[in-house]
């Protein structure tokens, strides 16, 4: 019940916040939508603690900025608010201990994609007239198209999407904990380097290999590492002897997953990027014939410089 109430409230809030003409109860709408978002989050259960506080800060920041993106009448500000959304999402990624993705998101989205957007916004906006202080807002920026139907349909979708979370989230099976250190079996060189850096083995000592399987003798479950000494004999390190930086880090796990499980997908992604680049070049090279005469006239008219 709370779910549907807050979803409906959010829908009304977004509907009110959408720009239409001159007078709009935008602030009221934004407040309503914010209240709805907060209510739904509270309905899922309030969580205390500092890390949880960060979750709420980033979540509300992201949703608020997203609302601003779709309601701000000026495209440049919408793009800037989108950067704020990206930063909030990166914060959520950090809380989810996906550090690499958080920074990749900031670099790729805020650094590259959004700059492209800003370029195009500035390329494709009419310059203000001489006498005017600033360009008048184009009517297509200040008037939303069929806001009611869109809000109703979208928030109906949200209600359906989130029904499961309120009803059955508690009954979801807990995923079996997976030990990321299991990946250490695949990186004996890292194990050797870490152990050597901490002075636990000497140069020339190698991680032993299991005689039956031929794999490095690293047991992530039991936490034992067997090392063949150069001087002969073996030495076993148990888990409480592991240096702190022995454990698999986010970026290492990500790299292994990316290159071991999805090598074909990387190739496809590369092809997609290549095609997009070619397509963009071909598309934007095309000259529009209609404009040419006008441009020449203009160039002759004011001496070619603007």
């Amino acid at each position: 019940m709370l779910l549907y109430g807050s979803v409906a409230l959010g829908g009304v809030g977004v509907w009110l916040a959408l720009p239409r003409g001159k007078r709009t109860p935008q602030v009221l709408g934004a407040l309503l939508a914010g209240a709805a978002g907060g209510m739904a989050l509270l309905g899922l259960g309030l969580a205390g603690g500092l890390a949880n506080l960060y979750f709420y800060v980033f979540a509300l920041m992201g949703l608020g900025a997203a609302l601003k993106v779709i309601t701000h009448p000026r495209p440049v500000y919408a793009a800037l608010y989108f950067i704020l959304t990206v930063l909030a999402a990166a914060g959520l990624f950090l809380i989810l201990s996906a550090e690499f993705m958080a920074f990749a998101l900031i670099i790729v989205y805020a650094g590259a994609i959004l700059i492209t957007y800003l370029f195009v916004i500035m390329l494709a906006t009419q310059a203000p007239e001489e006498g005017q202080e600033e360009a008048a807002q184009a009517p297509y920026d200040t008037n939303a198209r069929e806001p009611f139907i869109a809000c109703a349909a979208s928030f109906l979708l949200l209600g359906v999407l989130t029904t499961m979370m309120f009803r059955g989230a508690g009954q979801l099976e807990k995923a079996a904990p997976l030990n990321p250190d299991a990946l250490l079996v695949q990186m004996p060189r890292k194990v050797e380097n870490v152990l050597r850096a901490h002075g636990m083995i000497e140069a020339g000592d190698k991680v032993a290999h299991d005689e039956r399987t031929g794999r490095p003798a690293i047991d992530a479950e039991a936490g034992t590492i067997t090392v063949n000494r150069k001087s002969g004999g073996t030495r076993v390190f148990t888990k409480d002897q592991w240096p702190a930086d022995m454990h698999v880090k986010n970026i290492e796990g990500l790299g292994f997953d990316l290159l071991r499980e999805h090598p074909g997908t990387i190739e496809i992604a590369g092809v997609i990027l290549l095609m997009a680049m070619l397509g963009a070049v071909v598309l934007s090279r095309k000259q529009v014939q209609i404009d040419e005469d006008e441009k020449q006239k203009q160039a002759l008219g004011d001496g070619g410089g603007r």
Binding site: L44, G45, A47, A51, T116, A175, D181, L254, G279, I290
Partner: protein
Amino acid sequence: MMTLAQSGFPEVMSQVTLAHYLFVSGAMFTIGLVGFLTRRNLIIMFLCTELMFQAAGIALVAFGRFHLDFTGQTFVIFVLTVAAAEAAMALALVVLLFRRRESLDAEAWREMRG
């Protein structure tokens, strides 16, 4: 749980659950959808698709985190790739369309309706 906390994965916060993240993701997706349907500026419409990509990314990373699997994060990399490709193509199209009509209004192309 102790071993998880030691191994680079801080322990899952006791109370913020997967459902919280999925709700944030769903709400952000919905906002992007509303924006895509209601705004008439072509650039903002594509910005809203980026918003929806963001929402999908949050959901993927949250799932990956709570199932202790890196595949979610791997897929966010591919989502980023597709988003970059889409942005390049879409913006090239927008520039092309703007040169023809001197307007970013999606309604300026309404005769293209099937």
